[in-house]
């Protein structure tokens, strides 16, 4: 019993088409993987995580400042944070773009000295200010 297929193509041609489709699918998958890899290189997720770490470092630096202080962020001007929402809480900083989806939120923890308080949310700004005012650390719009 032979394999019956199209009326117009020989069996060899049919098999050839099947393999050609397989090869095209493989090519599509490979190019998809490459495009994902390229996107990851300069992806928002990396910038978010790096920026959250930068805020944490700035916050820890401000804690050690005797008196009041202010730090403008980001220090690296190549970072575009205009699509991010940055929130400061007692114990952690959050950077997100689609804030309703927890998976896409970069979160970094820190420890404040007793009686200190951290708060503030800034949305879609080019530059944000981290302010130390006595024992309160505040995140605010620099304008």
């Amino acid at each position: 019993m032979t394999f019956r297929g199209s009326l117009f193509l020989s069996k060899k041609a049919q098999l050839g088409i099947v393999f050609l489709m397989g090869a095209l699918a493989l090519l599509a998958i490979v190019s998809l993987i490459f495009s994902i890899a390229q996107k990851s290189g300069d992806s928002e997720e990396v910038v978010k995580a790096v920026f959250a770490e930068e805020v944490r470092l700035a916050l820890n630096s401000l804690i050690s400042v005797p008196g009041d202080g202010l730090i403008q962020l980001p220090q690296n001007e190549d970072y575009n944070i205009t699509e991010f929402t940055v929130s400061l809480h007692n114990g952690y900083v959050e950077v997100c773009s689609s804030c309703e989806i927890d998976y896409f939120t970069a979160r970094k923890g820190f420890h404040l000295p007793e009686d200190y308080e951290a708060r503030g949310t800034v949305k879609e700004q080019e530059i944000i200010c981290l302010v130390k005012d006595a024992k309160v650390l505040r995140l605010e719009d620099c304008n």
Binding site: M1, T2, F3, S10, K11, K12, Q14, L15, G16, V18, F19, G22, L26, I29, I33, I36, A37, S40, S43, E45, V46, A49, V50, E53, L57, N60, S61, I63, S64, V65, P66, G67, A106, G109, H111, P113, E114, D115, Y116, K135
Partner: protein
Amino acid sequence: MAPSIFRLFKLNKKGEANDANIPAVMLYYMMASFIIVILIFGFASILTGWQNQVSEFPDELKGEIIALRFSQSVDCFAYSDPVSGKVYPGVIDLEKFKDSRMDTCYFTGVDGQDFFQFELSLPEYKKTVETDNNYRNLIDHTIEKQILVYDEGKFVPTKLFIYVQTRI
């Protein structure tokens, strides 16, 4: 490539497949799909690891920045003039150099295993303080600082050693 594929699926001399070869073709695609799925998951996990790696800052830097507060902040061990209230960053008040003070300065609590822990030592005064119960003496790096100690009305130059435990 074509002849080997035809050999793989045992085509006849006219290049025709028969019913017996169909499971082999299906098996080939099933295996290929399985391998591709594994590759995609593997690739995703490599990317996640790489993203974590590039967004990670050196532990030495993070430890040093947290440790700044110990000698700089009046809410930790820095000396402040009782009359004027002026803070002397880099001067440690020996009166404050106690574990109880460390707990108000830097306390990671019960969930603190993954956070930096510190032990501060003033060898000349044979005094040490350490962070809460999560400090296990697993020292990853040491910060050495030249500081002044305020002891009984005198400013004495000495060395402060900060032992940093990045994680348990």
